[in-house]
Amino acid sequence: MDKMKYLISLFLTIIFAMGQHPISVTGVIKDEMGNGLAYVNVYFMDTLEGAMSNKNGHFLIRTHTQGKRVLRISHIGFMEKDEILIVDTSSIHMNIVLEKSYMEMDPISVSAGSFTMADEEGQTLTSLDVVTTAGAAADIFRAVQTFPGVNQVDEGAGMYVRGGDVSETTVILDQATISHPYKYESDTGGYFGMIDPFLLSGTYFSTGGFSAKYGNILSGVMAMESLDMPSRSSITIGAGLAAISAGGSWVLKPDKLAIQFSGNYSNTTYLFKLNGGEERFDQVPTSWDGNVSTIWKYSPFGQIKFFHYSNVDEIGVNTESPTYNGLMLNDNHTQLSNMQLRHLTQNGIMIKSSLSKNQFGQGLTLGNIDKELDDHLLKWRTDISIPMENKMTWNAGFILDELKTSLSATFPKDPNDFSPEAETEHFNVDYESMHYGIYLENEYQWSQKIFMTAGIRTDILDQPKQQVWDPRLSLNYRLSDSQFLKIATGIYHQYPKAQYRDVWVGNPDLMAMSANHYILGYEYKSDLTDFKAELYKKDYSQLLLDDETVNYSNDGEGYAYGADFFLKGTLPFISGWISYSYLQSKRKELDHLELVATDYDINHNITAALKTQFNTLNNAGLTYRYTTGKPYTPALNEWNSERLPAMQRLDLSYSRLIPIGTDGLLVLYLSVSNLLDKTNVYGYFYSPDYSERTELKSTHGRNIYFGFNLNL
């Protein structure tokens, strides 16, 4: 009975409250110029009470609810605004000014030096862009080489970023570091990137000035995200002149649990039979790779993803040099396993944590060179992003990794003499180290016009024990709806590779190498056009330098400066991008005992990647590259004093899409690479006294490739 009385009294209280005179909330809404705004939606966030402003911007809401309340003011073309009101018995009048809103997908938060790639509007490069870029061979690394700031030093996929070496760009997948990200790995990177673009949902690529999230790297970052939950089960098969592939996705419980898998076998026998050049190989390039991933969404806000990837590749090339004519054999195997948790809490905090293991093994023989490398990297990384009020976000995270390297190698004492009778030295390196990193970063949108990211990170290495601190800052200023000015700067460190830190052949006291980045950029971005221009300078210190007493010291130094231009656009019947890079890069490093041009100091690099559609089902692409010659050393101690001839290359591609049923698609493709049949020289093999040399040339002349891909 008491309960009944309680219910009745509460009910009457509510009715009484509802019967009270309504409280008026009135106001006028204007733009920044003082003009009244018509048809603005004004409403309380806890009820459906609201009104629309009249032609002069005036509004009136009558409310019965008292207390602290949030009033939302919303109008297309203007920034949404929330006002907190204390509603009591007296009426309220408000003067509200709405700020003009800019494009939703604006690049104000994309810092200088960065590109983002995903299958979404507003991104620089989609998976389809990667696949339809002529000459990119459906490889994301090769597609990224068409961007400014990335130099192509040979026919490979190696990423040399703004005067940095290929080892100065880190590649990350779902927070896991891929320590050897190339297939057919070589000194200049490798021939292809490891990860298929169709396994990716998005990629962030930075040529410098990147945030405190990324450490132990001097020049560039490529951070990729693997595919998310598939919406349906599907099967894909493909075959080409040099490869067959199959893959699929299996949705076990829609939006809850799915498995994705793929496998590729590549053998270039028929490619070389058709195009010539088979005689150059004892073992034509051959590879196997397979991937399986499982995604489990345990709630609408969280998921666990397991990703495993394996690759085996081998190649045997007949090599000619003044000291040795014979076979270069190279075989590599890679395993990457990663378990990643992503969870979004109710108050909007995003937690990402991954535990990964990456193993790489390589065997290499060339003349008197014999190398066996085994790398194990175990890594735990956690990133937390905490959105605050007032357009501020705190990011924090830590990295803990353990590296074990085992290297057994025989090398000639004279690096130019590969002959079996030459004097050699043998060394074994067994190196283990732990690396810890921690960062804190603040992203803050000061106003509609200014976006700032400021962060600091510290990295600690246990062997040899050392700690470095890296502050980073980037500022983006909006000049207008579509124009932006960007500044980024920071300190970057990278620990030397294991073999340089070995007690016998290296120096266990080596400190981290260091670079300071300074970037000034301008961007114009509209629906159909993206233009970027950036000036940059990088100062290097503590680089490794050959030392007669301790093998290597940190006395090296260097700098790089340049300008990058990028224009992506769409015209009637044609789309694509053009990039141009200017670079000057000098270093005193390793056996270059004076400040000289680096091996990858390519001063001018221009690339045009254009595509056209004859209709929606027929696509053609063209990529043209021209780069001025890179330096080489023509005589003892005349480091990099001469330059190779300029390199140019024209690639074409054509694809035809044939829809099958409602969701299936058959893609037929044909490509002609190096259409002009240019034989580019990428370097020379010299005799020990530099009296003789042989050219290191393109492995491919004009080359035809075709195949199909079927998705059901």
Partner: protein, 247 residues
């Protein structure tokens, strides 16, 4: 505790006034009237109604869909007034909402359909964007039809796309007519829940009329326009804009 919950539930119902289903149905009626009157303020008011409805904290995908639907009607309105700049603003906002809709409800065919249609409209305003949005638009409508092969609105959207796409890019008047007639047949048995989109019964004849006019058949066009008015005598789009264009 149980009583507190009952009271709180009651209080919420009092404050919000109605449940989300009723609220959506009211909003649909509001928008229908606004389009009939071809009145900017009423259309804006209907859009504001759905925007406020997001406060229910449920059926977000459906509220976003109807916001986008209102935007779509406003796009037509501003285009008819020659105000392309404002039309594009509402188009972009609609596309943004619909991209959220298909993330929130991956099985909602009308969401994919309207998104496809809005990309098509974007190409209509800026024809050279076809190279970007063309394939996206056709993928979306294919996906929508795969989800609901009996939904007449999807064939209407696909037919409109076929009508406006240049022949060399795969467009065809004959294909448009086939798709429109298929939609006409499907509308005869179309009976969606009151919450779901149900537009198009009269509009399909308006589109058929426009197609006939494009093909140089004014008499057939007039016949179809009249058919549209038979179904909805208040269809001001047909009455005030399409019919007067036939001399």
């Amino acid at each position: 505790m149980k009583y507190h919950l009952i009271i709180l539930g009651f209080l919420a119902a009092m404050l919000l006034g109605q449940n989300p289903d009723e609220y959506i149905i009211n909003g649909k009626a509001k928008m229908h009237t606004a389009v009939e009157h071809w009145n900017e303020q009423e259309m804006m008011s209907a859009r504001a109604h759905f925007e406020r409805g997001m406060n229910f904290g449920e059926k977000e995908w459906l509220f976003r869909y109807y916001i986008a639907y209102c935007n779509d009607q406003l796009v037509h309105y501003y285009q008819s007034k020659g105000d392309k700049k404002t039309a594009v603003k509402y188009l972009n906002d609609g596309i943004k909402h619909l991209n959220e809709v298909i993330k929130l409800n991956k099985e909602f065919a009308d969401g994919y359909g309207l998104l496809s249609s809005m990309y098509g409209e974007k190409m209509g305003i800026q024809p050279w964007t076809g190279i970007i949005y063309g394939s996206r638009s056709s993928t979306l409508i294919r996906k929508a039809i795969q989800l609901e092969p009996e939904n007449p609105r999807l064939y209407m959207i696909q037919g409109t796309s076929a009508m406006f796409t240049p022949e060399k890019w795969g467009g065809s008047n004959e294909e448009a007519k086939r798709l429109y007639l298929e939609a006409v047949e499907l509308f005869k048995t179309d009976n969606p829940s009151p919450l779901m989109p149900d537009y198009g019964k009269s509009d399909i004849y308006a589109w058929l009329g426009q197609l006939e006019l494009k093909m140089g058949h004014p008499d057939e066009a007039k016949m179809y326009y009249n058919k549209a008015l038979e179904i909805d005598p208040n269809n001001n789009w047909v009455k005030k804009q399409l019919l007067p264009r036939i001399k």
